[in-house]
């Protein structure tokens, strides 16, 4: 007998809160704490409806005391609970980073594997709506840089549910970062490709498996998060011009699916990394380095190109922000340029 799979269209925010609710039902040790996760349902709606279902003992509004509650998540996890700890914007992590990068990330290692910290930290990333430099960063590169943290950055509702379920079941700390511009909020423009079909039943998507969002033969775009949706729009334009782009959605940065990158670039011979984080010392450099380290396997037809925020804080004013954050047209232009270049 086959079980009927019910599939609906959900926004990424709905998919995330559904995953959290299902895991809370399944496992009494799971609870949520954070700023405005209760009555408000999360500023970006990642916990909408949960307070009504589970009550204030399991959906806990915290004071604006990030060091306090992020540290508390570590302590509670050490005792066997499984906290999900939300801090609205990734930009705010500076106030509590010590608890995260010196403790949450390292305690398992320093205890020789004798302790575990199944904490999921959730936070909103990204710009595109003019909220300026303290509210628009991505910063996933910073978290991925520190050993001991898994880093998940979904681009759509289906992936977000599966990855969130996997994150909650994971015995390690997971930083789960959702771009505000693809949550499907009623008060923010978004990319509709991120709202898609999601099964009702719980399911997991394993970490470290990138997805080929679009197959193509001419050039690979490696990207993630909202930039996936932008890359798809760019690829549609380019297809009309006869350029066939392959798009790789990394989905998780730690663990990183290096093979998927190499496989695709080996096929197309051209790589563009499209990233909403800062250019230098980050994701785009990492992907470029992986390919450079495997030039014995991968034959490049053109130099590697990176499109990212050009090492400036995200500006407020619309023309400035549009300039700083890579856009659909910019991706398309970079692809066209790359198609003109030849290494031999």
């Amino acid at each position: 007998m086959t079980t009927e799979t019910k599939v609906r269209t959900l926004t990424m925010a709905q998919a995330i809160s559904e995953a959290v609710a299902q895991e809370m039902e399944r496992d009494q040790r799971v609870f949520v704490m954070g700023e405005d996760v209760g009555k408000y349902g999360g500023i970006f709606s990642a916990t909408t409806g949960l307070l009504d279902k589970f009550g204030p003992d399991r959906i806990m509004d915290t004071p604006i005391s990030e060091t306090g509650f992020m540290g508390a998540a570590i302590g509670a996890a050490a005792e066997g609970l499984r906290p999900i700890s939300e801090l609205m914007f990734v930009d705010f992590f500076g106030v509590c980073f010590d608890q995260i990068y010196n403790h949450l990330a390292k305690n398992t290692y320093m205890s020789g594997g004798n302790t575990k910290y199944p904490v999921v930290i959730t936070t909103g990333i990204g710009g595109g709506y003019n909220d300026a430099a303290q509210h628009s960063q991505c910063l996933y590169g910073i978290f991925a840089h520190v050993p001991g943290l898994k880093v998940v950055v979904p681009s759509n509702a289906y992936d977000a549910k599966g990855l969130m379920t996997a994150a909650i079941r994971d015995d390690n700390p997971v930083v789960f970062m959702y771009h505000k511009g693809i949550m499907g909020l009623s008060w923010m423009s978004y990319y509709e490709g991120s709202t898609n079909a999601v099964p009702l039943e719980p399911y997991t998507i394993p970490f470290g498996e990138a997805k080929v969002v679009r197959e193509g033969r001419d050039l690979t775009i490696v990207t993630l998060s909202q930039m996936v949706q932008k890359a798809v729009l760019a690829a549609d334009k380019l297809a009309a011009e006869g350029i066939d782009v392959e798009i790789i959605d990394l989905r998780t940065l730690v663990p990183l699916d290096r093979e998927a990158v190499l496989r695709s670039v080996a096929k197309t011979g051209r790589l563009l990394v499209a990233d909403e984080d800062y250019l230098s010392f980050g994701l785009s450099g990492e992907i470029a380095a992986i390919v450079a380290e495997h030039l014995d396997r991968v034959k490049l037809k053109a130099p590697i190109r990176r499109l990212a925020v050009p090492d400036v804080p995200i500006p407020f004013s619309r023309p400035l922000e549009d300039f700083a954050i890579p856009q659909v047209d910019g991706i398309a232009a970079a692809v066209r340029d790359l198609m003109q270049l030849n290494l031999n």
Partner: protein, 336 residues
């Protein structure tokens, strides 16, 4: 210490200016956000219109800003929070440039780089931050500088009752007291930190009581009244200028609007905001002025007209100024 007639009039005019500024912003901010763009499910586009991004307005909280700033000189520093306009206006920040900044224009305080939560006017020593709790330690630094330079300047750190649960706030209080800094910490208790009520975030009733833990005076101002704030701040500023160290003041004030514009306010009891408006501090101060023959219908009308003209001019300046060139995004990462 009671305000002079001149100070009373100044506070009244500034409160009228702040209120009208915020009410105008509430309207301007809506432009281009409604009706929705052609996108499924979009009801309110926070990134749309001439003033995009978040917008935190302070209507109702004017007494805190004017009661404190009435004691300040240009050399005194003010560090505000994410809800900064009332402090900025009371500290005489350039109104045109401040407004242009919110429109993202090249003529703005930050040439369009900062926007509403990040206003910097070094000419009057004003700054603010979108990071909750950041103001208190930075005010300590300004006060430390005054002390090192041998000046009788003071510094004010303004923040909300939500921010008083940040580690940074507690560290700042200890530093200020330890180093006997001329700093005044001013906490606006508007009852909510976004949706979380004070009673659900704060283990004691009044933050003023926390001052004792750091060896400094703590003062609770129980009414949202400019004169009451003026008195408390006057003493604190005088103490600081005499080199007697910091003070923590908490003011019970009211936030009439949502946490940010567009906030559905589902956490707030229905009708609460309207009820709060029945204790509006602006007509209350107006009535006091009238009872002392400092204000009548004619002078009130001409004062309001002058305020309106200033505000209209500021919004027109903001709206009509040019945008920066896109590539200016690359400038100013470092000081030249």
């Amino acid at each position: 210490m009671d305000p002079t007639s001149e100070q009373l009039l100044w506070m009244y005019e500034k409160m009228v200016e702040i209120r009208e500024y915020e009410e105008t912003m509430a309207k301007v901010y809506l432009e281009g956000k409604l009706p929705p763009k052609i996108q499924k499910g979009l009801a309110f586009d926070i990134g749309g219109g001439p003033v995009p991004g978040e917008m935190h307005l302070a209507a109702g909280q004017e007494p805190v800003a004017v009661g404190v700033c009435a004691h300040l000189r240009t050399e005194d520093s003010v560090v505000g929070a994410h809800r900064p306009h009332h402090f900025a206006i009371a500290k005489n920040v350039d109104l045109n440039a401040m407004t242009a900044e919110m429109f993202g224009k090249a003529t703005g305080l930050g040439r369009g780089k900062g926007g509403h939560m990040h206003l910097f006017d070094p000419a009057v020593k004003f700054s603010c931050s979108g990071i909750v709790g950041a103001s208190a330690p930075q005010a300590c630094g300004a006060a430390l500088a005054a002390k090192k330079l041998g000046k009788d300047w003071v510094a004010i750190g303004f923040f909300g009752e939500g921010a008083a649960n940040q580690g940074a706030f507690h560290e700042a209080l200890n530093l200020a007291s330890l180093w006997k800094l001329p700093v005044i910490f001013v906490c606006e208790d508007n009852k909510y930190g976004i949706s979380v009520e004070k009673q659900d975030s704060t283990s004691i009733e009044s933050n003023a009581d926390r001052a004792a833990g750091y060896g400094m005076p703590g003062v609770l101002v129980e009414t949202n009244d400019a004169v009451a704030v003026f008195r408390a701040a006057g003493e604190a500023v005088a103490r600081a200028r005499r080199g007697e160290g910091p003070t923590l003041i908490e003011v019970k004030t009211d936030r009439y609007l949502g946490h940010f514009q567009g906030d559905p306010e589902t956490y707030r009891p229905k009708g609460e905001a309207q009820e709060l408006r029945t204790h509006d501090p602006i007509p209350a101060l107006g009535a006091l002025l009238r009872s002392r023959d400092l204000l009548d219908d004619t002078s009130d009308a001409s004062l309001r007209k002058a305020v309106s003209e200033r505000i209209e001019a500021a919004y027109a300046f903001g709206r009509n100024s040019p945008y920066p060139e896109p590539s200016e995004a690359l400038l100013h990462v470092f000081a030249d």
